[in-house]
């Protein structure tokens, strides 16, 4: 027994020790070791708690991070889609829906009466029957206004509640329907850019439960709503004026590949997409393939000049039609003489183009067409694309017909993209619906023709607008250059002389091109005001109207026309 062991201390000794000493003793000796251990343990625990509190306090981001509003997670949020200037193309709006729990409703008659006082379009009797039932849940009305919700809330009927749901809203209605696309009832993208967003990241975010509206940054598109409206408006005008069954158009930046506007009529209203799946509502620009006719001569000229098979000073005999087996190749505006190469272009001579293509040769022609991207499906952000229809066998006849745009069916978008390459100095840039800088575009660019060929093509395009079939596309001050295309449509397996596909492919200002504009009209008729039925009479003026109205918005400065004439002479 030691002095350091108070509990075992014998009673007589304890009694002998003075009170004061006993107190100190009890605390000062033996017990001190265990006490210290206990105190240290408690101190440690408190230190850990304090340390944790300090880290919580310092880490601001952790604040409130744990709480997820189940309502927000249920109503799948989507980011706003905005145009290049931040104008809204698609947004989510919260809509309330009223539901009832009939089991908890005390007086169904009164409840039905009160509800119909706020929602007068409800059938009171049917509502009363539903509320009197024994069901656990029934909808009263989906998607009511905030004002109605407030009124119903202040009625204070027991057993009536609200659920908020996200509803996709497109303020422009059909304005950019083919680009923006659609969502289904669960707010999931099923077409157009909406589907692109879902496929790339939003779908995964939804599955992980992280997609809440306030955390989603708006997604910017390359289109400009003002230009988009102008294009759609002019397409609608042309469709109406020439009783066409369809129309499509695009405005494309030649240096970045950005699509500024793209429209295909007839279209649909994504807010009420009852018509969206009708076959005539397809996106003709990206998902329809057509034999586009004479606009294709631009590419024949590009390959002929670029490969050196033909120069601008050469002459081509277009005196007689070409007979090949049972086929005859003829001109729409026959000149019956030897034409210079620029004349072949401005008179749009099929015979001349066919001769030039034969000089180039079928293999070289195919190599160039492949380089222009006409042999592959052109992929963009939009899921709706179509693959070109390529002739299975490439004979001399194929070489000749493809030279003026028959026998090879491609999407109008492919033509616009390849045309941008012809006028921008020879660089093919894949198109995009997202904003892209020039530096980014330069990295993607692929040279398809020499810069000199591009210069020569621009000269031909301008010549065609000043002197040739493109005169109706001229817009004073903006130096438009372009090529008409009037293709016969295939009806019942034969080319029909009465049904046409008219197009005009333009670039402006042609001395330093910034934008390509392509308009295609499906089966336009003669206007009531007279005029012809070829592209020069309908597609060309439509392009002119689009350029006239949108050039200032696109930031193209007008210049006096004599400067334009001077350029033409100097060439």
């Amino acid at each position: 027994m030691t002095a350091l062991d108070p509990p075992t201390m014998s009673p007589p000794l304890a009694a002998a020790v003075p009170r004061r000493l006993r107190w100190t003793w009890r605390y000062a000796d033996g017990g001190r070791g265990r006490l210290r251990i206990a105190a240290a343990a408690f101190a440690l625990v408190y230190l850990v708690i304090i340390g944790r509190l300090v880290t919580f306090g310092l880490d601001a981001s952790a604040a409130g991070g744990g709480a997820v509003d189940p309502n927000a997670a249920v109503a799948t949020s989507r980011p706003n889609l905005v145009d290049r200037n931040g104008e809204i193309l698609a947004t989510d709006i919260k809509m309330s829906s009223v539901y009832a729990e009939p089991r908890n409703i005390l007086d169904p008659d009164e409840a039905a009466e009160l509800l119909s006082s706020v929602l007068p379009d409800l059938d009171t009797r049917a509502l009363r029957e539903r509320l009197a039932g024994k069901a656990g849940f029934t909808w009263v009305k989906r998607e009511i206004t905030p004002a109605q919700q407030k009124e119903i809330h202040s009625l204070g009927i027991p057993g009536i509640g609200f659920l908020t749901e996200n509803r996709r809203f497109y303020p422009g209605g059909p304005l950019a329907s083919h680009i923006v696309g659609l969502v289904n009832v669960d707010n999931q993208g099923i077409a157009g850019f909406e589907k692109y967003v879902d496929d790339h990241w939003l779908g995964a975010l939804h599955q992980a439960g992280f997609a809440r509206s306030e955390q989603l940054q708006p997604v910017r598109l390359s289109i400009d709503v003002r230009v988009q409206h102008i294009l759609r408006d002019e397409l609608a005008n042309a469709m109406d004026k020439f009783s066409a069954i369809g129309a499509t158009g695009i405005v494309l930046d030649v240096h970045t590949g950005e699509v500024l506007a793209m429209s295909s009529l007839p279209d649909f209203d994504p807010n009420d997409p009852v018509n969206a799946l009708k076959p005539d509502r397809l996106d003709r620009m990206t998902a329809g393939v057509y034999e586009l006719g004479s606009v294709f001569k631009s590419f024949t000229f590009a390959m002929a000049l670029d490969s050196g098979a033909v120069t601008l000073n050469d002459r081509v005999d277009a005196t007689h039609a070409i007979h090949f087996g049972r086929f005859t190749i003829n001109d729409f505006h026959p000149q019956h003489r030897v034409l210079t190469v620029p004349e072949v272009f401005i008179y749009s001579s099929n015979i001349g183009a066919a001769h030039m293509a034969l000089k180039v040769g079928g293999d070289t022609q195919q190599a160039y067409l492949k380089r222009f991207g006409f042999f592959n499906e052109l992929k963009t952000e939009l899921p709706e694309t179509a693959a070109p229809l390529i002739p299975p066998k490439w004979s001399d006849l194929t070489t000749m017909t493809v030279a003026f745009g028959h026998g090879l069916a491609v999407t109008p978008l492919q033509v616009a993209v390849a045309d941008a390459a012809l006028v921008n100095g020879g660089l093919l840039i894949p198109p995009t619906f997202r904003p892209r800088t020039r530096t980014e575009a330069d990295k993607l660019a692929r040279r398809v023709v020499k810069p000199l060929t591009s210069d020569q093509l621009r000269y031909l395009f301008r010549l065609n607008v000043v002197k040739g079939s493109g005169r109706h596309a001229n817009v004073p001050g903006y130096m438009v250059g372009g090529k008409t295309g009037t293709a016969e449509k295939v009806v019942d397996g034969r080319y029909s002389a009465n049904h046409r596909l008219n197009s005009f492919l333009a670039a402006f200002p042609i001395d330093h091109p910034q934008y390509v504009v392509l308009v295609v009209l499906d089966d336009p008729k003669r206007a009531k005001t007279g005029g012809g039925t070829t592209a020069a009479w309908n597609a060309a003026p439509a392009v002119a109207a689009v350029i006239r109205r949108s050039a200032a918005i696109l930031g193209v400065e007008p210049r006096p026309d004599d400067a334009a004439a001077a350029l033409l002479v100097s060439n």
């Binding site: 004073p476 903006y478 050039a551 400065e557």
Partner: protein, 116 residues
């Protein structure tokens, strides 16, 4: 002496309890306020989204065009032609003399300065 310390500890404990309770109470009030504010913010956000959507609907080019067409006679509006577009340095300066001030102002605008 021991009693004094016991008493002091007791007082300290009571004071501590009161302070803790008070803090907890205040924290609860603050938490309620935060929840209310968050709900308000959420509802304001929804309202802003709704108003943005409405604004965007009202400023749709198609709607503006219809409005312009409707009031074209009243406002005497016409589409501008390209020859009406010019850069500011293409505008000739007024001749020297009475309008010297205006000329200087115009020169400053042309130099890219901001003029009140």
């Amino acid at each position: 002496m021991g009693r004094v310390i016991d008493l002091l500890l007791l007082v300290a404990m009571i004071v501590g309890a009161v302070i803790t309770y008070d803090m907890k109470h205040k924290a609860e009030i603050a938490a309620d306020r935060v929840a209310r504010l968050e709900a308000n913010i959420a509802s304001e956000r929804d309202k802003i989204r709704l108003l943005n959507a409405e604004w965007s609907m009202l400023t749709q080019p198609a709607r503006l065009q219809a409005v312009v067409d409707k009031y074209a006679d009243y406002f005497q509006l016409q589409p501008f032609s390209p020859d009406q577009v010019a850069a500011i340095d293409e505008i000739p300066l007024r001749p020297q003399g009475a309008h010297g001030d205006a000329e200087r102002t115009l020169a400053r605008i042309a130099a890219g300065e901001r003029v009140r």
